[in-house]
């Protein structure tokens, strides 16, 4: 196996696993539950910092990851509380503010490494292949979990909240509880992804978790098609692999990325899932006897 897949391919697959986990975590909040978050990278970062500082202090890797989830979810719960107060565009901007606040605070704390961040994060000891397997597995688990949630009562509640919050309330759904659940779970998973990321790259700095990062992961969710697990997965893989595929467009990769995001929203706002569903629909209609 390792003969076919070289070190470089393994590092790519590892990154894919982490990115898909991260994207699916936002999908729970924004795709399934309809709460727009423009600051999701803050939870990714919180998890990364928590895990990094713990393993540097000697805590075993698995425990550190759990702690990362807990820290991120705790902050996520606070933001979730804010979502009970503000909605839609105001929520979008509030979450954006949370993202900036996170970086702003971390950059000033020397205990967290200040602007230079944390380096020499210890190796989790799983070997390159083992770590890659872990990251891919985490993506798989989160995907399965998301599919399960979609079919469950929670998924139904999320869907109604995303559709029309006020009606959901009238129908008897405990909207605040479900919103908080979405935030807590989504941010907790993001924290795990962050912990994995920190141990993959070995060095983390506050600027890796900024507005651009938040926008990128939101783009993955929206391009994938809000809520669609496979759509978001494909989008996440595509967008993170984009710079690596085309060497010759290295100078143009941001332009392509921005253009792609723009084009998808302009011409297929349902994202990849929408495209596929639309295509299926046309196929079905074409096959039906007229």
């Amino acid at each position: 196996m390792t003969g076919i897949i070289g070190n470089y391919e393994m590092s790519l697959l590892t990154m894919v696993g982490i990115t898909v986990t991260f994207a699916l975590s936002l999908n729970l909040i924004t795709g399934l539950c309809g709460q727009i978050s423009l600051g999701h990278a803050a939870f990714y970062g919180a998890g990364a910092y928590a895990a990094a500082m713990l393993t540097k202090a000697g805590v075993p890797f698995a425990l550190a990851l759990l702690a990362a989830a807990a820290v991120a979810a705790a902050i996520g719960l606070v933001v979730g509380l804010a979502s009970l107060r503000v909605r839609h565009d105001f929520l979008a901007i509030t979450t954006m503010g949370v993202g900036f606040l996170f970086i702003g605070i971390v950059r000033q704390q020397d205990a967290l490494g200040g602007t230079m961040g944390i380096s020499s994060i210890p190796d989790p000891g799983l070997g390159k292949a083992g770590f890659m397997a872990l990251c891919l597995a985490s993506a798989g688990v989160v995907a399965l979990f998301s599919l399960y949630v979609k079919r469950s009562w929670m998924g139904y509640a999320f869907d109604s909240i995303a559709d029309d919050e006020d009606t959901a309330r009238i129908v008897g759904i405990n909207v605040p509880a479900y919103k908080l659940a979405a935030f807590a779970i989504g941010t907790g998973i993001a924290g795990v992804a962050g912990g994995l990321y920190a141990h993959n790259v070995g060095i983390i700095d506050p600027d890796s978790f900024g507005f651009i990062e938040s926008i990128t992961v939101l783009a993955m969710v929206v391009i994938g098609g809000n809520g669609s697990v496979w759509g978001v997965t494909v989008a996440a893989v595509m967008l993170s692999m984009l710079p690596h595929w085309f060497q010759f467009i290295d100078n143009y990769k941001l332009l392509v990325y921005g253009g792609l995001v723009f084009a998808v929203m302009r011409f297929s706002p349902g994202g990849l899932a929408g495209l596929f569903a639309g295509g299926l629909e046309r196929l079905r209609r074409a096959r039906m006897p007229s």
Binding site: T115, M116, G117, I203, D207, S208, N251
Partner: protein
């Protein structure tokens, strides 16, 4: 039967041709990472041009034992998030023999870890964070460690210019903070009182509040760190507010664009750097002329540093005479060569030992002011 034999012969022939062809097409690859997009793109482009020029010149002189040198470069956006995959790609996919960083400290530090682990020699052209060389014995740096330059700044202001009342304006990143640390370390030794220190972010271009506060502080000198795109507006705004204290900067200012942006306000600004525009050294003069010829823009410190790094690397590879990375690493450690930014030789940690050039802006250009060669003061860390 006959067809089968013919097929095997054809495949064998093809195999021979491919093998022969690939040995003819071989080049020696040097990996290079620099910020070509994002907020640091200006410096990244300069560094890339400096490196490309050095490769061109080396190839003109026969490359490395007749084999052409190829610079394989990727954008890292000055972020460790990108520099690590880029380093992986260069080492695994592009099979570079050695690597050079034309990027900022954060990205360089992250990439250095990858290079050290893979046993590939890596030179940091201008990233100044001290931890970079501490990554391991395969990592070197051809520019000053931040602290060393900061110390030189303290001597410059306190002893050479005789100003004792200083306000510090510090850029809030690795670059600015290590300079500030070095300055503060030696300030007292030269009788300097630091009245206040203000910090700003790399995105800031409007310094109204800081300027107003500095005016109230009434310093006799200002030690301000930054890059030309922040220092230009800062210096202009300080002078426009009527502040006449001498302003001392560092190599981040070292670009004609600084003078262009600040205009008349740049007159009299003094900087510590590695590039002496008035240098009589043929290396420096040739580089400055060749760079302007190639790119149409005047050389700056970042370009000179990248040029130097490539030059050192090529010289080491020629001396080692092989693509064996361990041998190249040893050659780098022992090297002593004159480049545009001075005489380069490394200590045990991989840090360079050289004089600090002090330049002043006079008549709209950087001119020679003085040189600081205090070996003890400028001693880089050795572990």
């Amino acid at each position: 039967m006959k067809f089968r034999a013919a097929k095997i012969a054809a495949i064998a022939l093809a195999g021979v041709i491919v093998a022969a062809g690939s040995s003819f097409a071989e080049t020696v690859k040097i990996g290079f990472n620099a910020p070509l997009t994002g907020f640091a793109a200006a410096d990244g482009k300069s560094a890339l041009n400096g490196a490309l020029l050095a490769v061109e010149q080396a190839n003109a002189k026969g490359g490395i034992k007749g084999v052409k040198i190829e610079l394989v470069y990727y954008d890292d956006g000055a972020s460790p998030k990108n520099s690590v995959p880029v380093a992986n790609k260069l080492i695994e996919k592009d099979q570079v023999v050695v690597g050079i960083s034309g990027s900022y400290s954060g990205a360089t530090r992250a990439a250095a870890g990858v290079y050290q682990k893979a046993g590939v020699p890596y030179i940091s052209a201008y990233a100044i964070h001290p931890d970079i060389t501490r990554t391991g014995n395969y990592v070197f740096r051809t520019s000053f460690v931040g602290e060393v330059q900061g110390r030189a700044g303290a001597k410059l202001i306190g002893a050479m210019l005789g100003k004792k009342r200083v306000v510090m304006i510090t850029l809030k990143n690795d670059f600015g903070k290590s300079l500030a640390a070095g300055f503060k370390e030696k300030a007292a030794a030269y009788g300097i009182t630091i009245v206040n220190e203000y910090e700003y972010s790399i995105k800031d271009r409007q310094f109204g509040p800081i300027v107003a506060k500095v005016k109230a502080d009434k310093p006799t000198a200002i030690y301000a760190s930054g890059y030309f795109f922040t220092a230009g507006p800062l210096v202009s705004q300080l002078r426009a507010a009527g502040i006449t204290a001498v302003i001392v900067g560092q190599e981040g200012y070292d670009s004609e664009k600084f003078i262009k942006i600040a205009g008349k306000a740049s007159e009299g600004v003094i900087i510590t750097t590695s590039l002496d525009r008035d240098s009589k050294s043929p290396e420096t003069a040739n580089f400055i002329a060749a760079f302007e010829k190639k790119t149409g823009a005047k050389a700056d410190m970042v370009a000179a540093s990248a040029h130097t790094a490539v030059k050192v690397m090529v010289a080491a590879m020629r001396q080692a005479g092989t693509t064996d990375r361990a041998a190249i690493r040893d050659a780098i450690a022992k090297i002593r060569i004159t480049a545009s930014t001075g005489v380069i030789s490394f200590n045990a940690l991989g840090e360079v030992r050289k004089d600090v050039q002090v330049q002043v802006v006079r008549g709209g250009a950087f001119r020679h002011h003085s040189v600081i060669s205090d070996a003890k003061l400028l001693a880089p860390p050795s572990k």
